[in-house]
Symmetry: C2
Subunit: 136 residues, 2 copies
Amino acid sequence: MATMTAAQRREAARVGFDAYIAECPARQLLDRIGDKWVSLVVNALADGPQRYSDLRRRLAGVSEKMLTQTLRALERDGLLTRTVTPSVPARVDYALTPLGTGLLPLMQSIKAWAEEHMPEVLAARESYDAAAGNGK
Amino acid sequence: MATMTAAQRREAARVGFDAYIAECPARQLLDRIGDKWVSLVVNALADGPQRYSDLRRRLAGVSEKMLTQTLRALERDGLLTRTVTPSVPARVDYALTPLGTGLLPLMQSIKAWAEEHMPEVLAARESYDAAAGNGK
DNA sequence: CTGTATCCTATCTGATACTG
DNA sequence: CAGTATCAGATAGGATACAG
């Protein structure tokens, strides 16, 4: 048959759009830097190389699992390097690559926009919630 | 007692840091624009006001639930307006507010960085995976 | 047309315990 | 010191059916 059911057409459109989203560079980037700990790790490393335990201390709330997972993801993406010094006890240093350093100006832009406009967003949120609260 | 156990100190540090993260404007912003559909909706509305069904068509893969949820969140944050025309059938238009429009340059910066550097990231990812694959 | 309600799965996140 | 392994709870995301 040359025709598809409506459900099939919708499904086909969804799959195609999902593929488009998966390839969209901007969304790939947002997926990465939107991760809870990524921006914090990158910022911590902006001050220079840090050891695993330094990072764990600076990001006081991170679990070992999430820290390791975040560092591995960033290493995989070429944003930072992992250097093992096989002394006893072992020592591992993490440092931003040039690619990772190149991310800093963008993070700065995001931070600047946030600091300038998030208060408005928060105010809007409060007034929206207040209105909804009155309705109930 | 003046002292806390190690576990208590860690817990206190974690709670304090979580509070800091929750207040950090940059992280709040990333949480918002990192949502899967937010950037797509904002971009779609950059071309001008759109109706609910227009958006659903343009974002082919979105479920009604996620589209509504995303639109409500953006409305709550003062980034877009929702205008109901109570005709039959009902008609609802969504449009960016000035605050929402102000987000566009930032989105553009993100897109620009992504298009310039994501190929490097993807290449790093492939070579990392290839190396890991050899090891197994 | 524009949603809301329900149910279900996948993923994310974290706590805990253990290892080289 | 720097992780890995495992388990459980929370949350996001989506399919489907129904309502105003």
